[in-house]
């Protein structure tokens, strides 16, 4: 048995081994490769002989390999596979194979050989491949989204951060940063709010969510950027341990938002100015007429006193005119203010038929245009509770709109109907004002009660919005039927008196 063992030479063992084996010189060139090694790497024995080991290693690991080779040659000791030496080799077809390797130095005289044993670790390579590609994916996604990652260690008071964040903070080389230094780059005005957000997230009773927006000032170029940060505090044994999260540069977004805000403010201002102008113009018009009359009457009286030339009757007429007009101005102001301030509305029991006739005679007399009225006024309609002046204003407004709409109609008919309807178990009076003009479409019908909406070239678009407000103040509703084949049809309701 012993002699048989003695007869086994190195070569026999070498060739018979189930594991792949290579024998190399200390220069890294292959002297021998056993059949398993040849098969595994796909080379013939001749091809492998004299080949530099380096050529069998994936190019990106060659530098690393040379470093370890130097280390090994300085101190050539056995390294078993369990130490975890691994290496990615290339087979003859260029496919990468992850290998577990062991190294055994063999010294004969001055010559140092190295015996390399290796086995395939392909399954592990797949996992690592997957890991690497998922990391790669994460890295690319992060880059695409412009995300930076931070990890704030509360105990050590330092922040681990990635390249993206280092770039924003203008500190390219430091892999960690002290919390104080980190905060120093944040705009002083934003520090407090950000700290409050962190404090809130660190509260063990909270869900640990952190959300903040703040500016940072790059210490190198002084450029200011808006940062949006989101993260979560992780607790250990009930104590906040670390805050991990992402940051994003949202400067562009903020700028767009700011521009939009400026634009919105401008639009709002224009609207406010217009409302103010309309109100002022309404007041001016209401006051200017009586003022004009008072002024003229007064001058008449004054002139008469100076020249003693006017009959007592005329003087009386002028002075009475003054009084009446001053009172009219006061009344207009009160009504206008009451409408603007929505003060207490004075209502009275009113006969709706009378109010309608009153409004019709105003429209007849102002020569607004021709029309043929058809009245379907319910007889013995109970008195409604309303402010008569206001309801008359609404009616005049509806009539004028209707007459204007029928300007190009050969036979313009204004139909006015009154009736009783039950709304929510309560009887109310309904007035319907219908014209036979062109009517309007759904789009117009939807907007017709909006302030400043008008279809007339010189209108200011306040008539219907004021009318609706007036009817609502009187406890009713005003709406329009836009099934417009037969012209526009406005309805409003009013409550009956007690």
């Amino acid at each position: 048995m012993n002699s048989t063992v003695k007869n086994l030479n190195f070569r026999t063992v070498f060739d018979a081994a189930a594991d792949a084996m290579l024998l190399t010189e200390n220069t890294g060139h292959i002297v021998l490769a056993n059949p398993t090694a040849q098969q595994l790497l796909g080379y013939s024995a001749d091809e492998m002989k004299g080949l530099a080991i380096e050529m069998l290693i994936a190019p990106r690991y060659r530098k690393q390999y040379r470093y370890y080779q130097r280390l090994f040659l300085n101190r050539p000791v056995k390294r078993s596979m369990s130490v975890g030496n691994e290496l990615i080799a290339l087979n003859r077809d260029g496919k990468e194979i992850l290998l577990d390797i062991s190294l055994s130095p063999i010294k004969t005289g001055q010559q140092l050989f190295i015996l390399i044993l290796f086995t395939i670790a392909n399954r592990r390579l797949d996992t690592e491949d997957a890991l690497r590609s998922s990391e790669e994916r994460l890295r690319l996604a992060k880059q695409a989204a412009g995300l930076g990652i931070f990890d704030y260690d509360f105990k050590r008071n330092i922040i681990y951060w990635d390249r993206q964040m280092r770039k924003l903070w203008g500190k390219h080389s430091e892999k960690t940063i002290s919390y104080e230094e980190f905060v120093a780059a944040i705009h002083p005005e934003d520090r407090e709010a950000r700290q409050a957000a962190i404090d809130k997230a660190m509260d063990p009773n909270s869900n640990g969510e952190f959300k903040a927006q703040y500016r940072i000032i790059n210490p190198i170029n002084g450029v200011e950027r808006w940062i949006s940060a989101r993260g979560r505090v992780y607790f250990e044994a009930g104590y906040p341990h670390r805050l991990i999260g992402v940051t994003r540069d949202v400067t562009e977004q903020r700028n767009i938002q700011k521009k939009l805000q400026v634009h919105r403010n401008e639009t709002e201002n224009i609207l406010k100015q217009q409302v103010a102008a309309c109100t002022a113009s309404a007041i001016a018009h209401e006051l200017n007429q009586p003022l004009a009359a008072i002024s003229a009457y007064s001058e008449v009286v004054l002139h008469a006193l100076q020249n003693d030339s006017f009959s007592a009757d005329n003087l009386k007429r002028a002075l009475e005119g003054c009084v009446a007009q001053a009172q009219r101005a006061g009344r207009s102001l009160h009504e206008l203010l009451a409408f603007l301030q929505k003060g207490e509305l004075m209502t009275e029991r009113s006969n709706l038929t009378d109010v309608i006739h009153g409004a019709l005679s105003i429209v007849y007399n102002d020569g607004y245009g021709r029309f043929h009225p058809i009245l379907h006024l319910q007889q013995n309609l109970p008195a409604v509770q309303c402010n008569r002046t206001q309801i008359q204003k609404v009616l005049v407004n509806l009539f004028r709109n209707a007459i204007e709409a029928m300007r190009n109609i050969d036979f313009p008919i204004l139909t006015i109907t009154t009736t009783v309807q039950t709304v929510n178990d309560k009887d109310v009076a309904v007035v319907i004002v219908q014209d036979n003009g062109p009517g309007f479409d759904q789009v117009v019908a939807k907007r017709i009660f909006e302030p400043f909406f008008t279809t007339k070239p010189s209108g200011i678009g306040m008539g219907l919005s004021i009318s609706r407000a007036l009817i609502e103040d009187n406890g009713g509703q005003l709406w329009v039927d836009s099934d417009a084949k037969t012209g526009a049809k406005f309805h409003f309701t009013l409550p009956f008196g007690p």
């Binding site: 001016a284 018009h285 200017n288 007429q289 009586p290 003022l291 004009a292 009359a293 008072i294 002024s295 003229a296 009457y297 001058e299 008449v300 002139h303 008469a304 030339s309 006017f310 005329n314 007429r317 002028a318 005119g321 009446a324 007009q325 009219r328 007399n365 102002d366 020569g367 607004y368 245009g369 004028r400």
Partner: protein, 203 residues
Amino acid sequence: MQEPTVFIVDDDAAVRDSLTLMIEQAGMHVQSFENAKTFLNAYQPNFFGCVIIDVKMPGMDGLQLQEELAWRKILLPVIFLTGHGDIPMSVRAIKGGAIDFLTKPVIREKLLICVRAAFTEAKKRLSDATQNREITTCLTKLTRREREVMLLAVQGHSNKEIGSYLGISYRTVEIHKSKIMQKTGANNLLDLARIARESELSE
């Protein structure tokens, strides 16, 4: 000549009444109307004086009434009343031939000055119109041949030239010309040229 009258068109009863008193106190005749339509319906060709129109009225407004007056060849000078004069509207009104603008409340002095100026303008317009009518009348008295001779004469052609254009003798042209001067009452050729031009304008 008939006494001039101030016609007021304003939808506000108090404004109408107070201005009426003011103008009557100054010794002038006034008639007032509550809208454009009533004024146009009441209008008579012998209306003489001026018209004060409120710019802002329901129905036909002041500027529309001004256009209507021009279209109907009503020569009454127009004074506008306005609550708060806005410039584009004033420009339109003045271009339309308005005499002046009065802002409410109206000052007595300014109103009276304005009305008197309008009356002067009204008289001028009336006499211009009368004169035009007279010229037109006397030109209708001319025979066809006499009109032909007149047109050539006022263009500066000599009697000889006119004669050869019309194929009549130099003498006949002279006879026609003296008849023309006689019928139109023109003193000389220059006067005749003026009459011819004015009649063209009024046609």
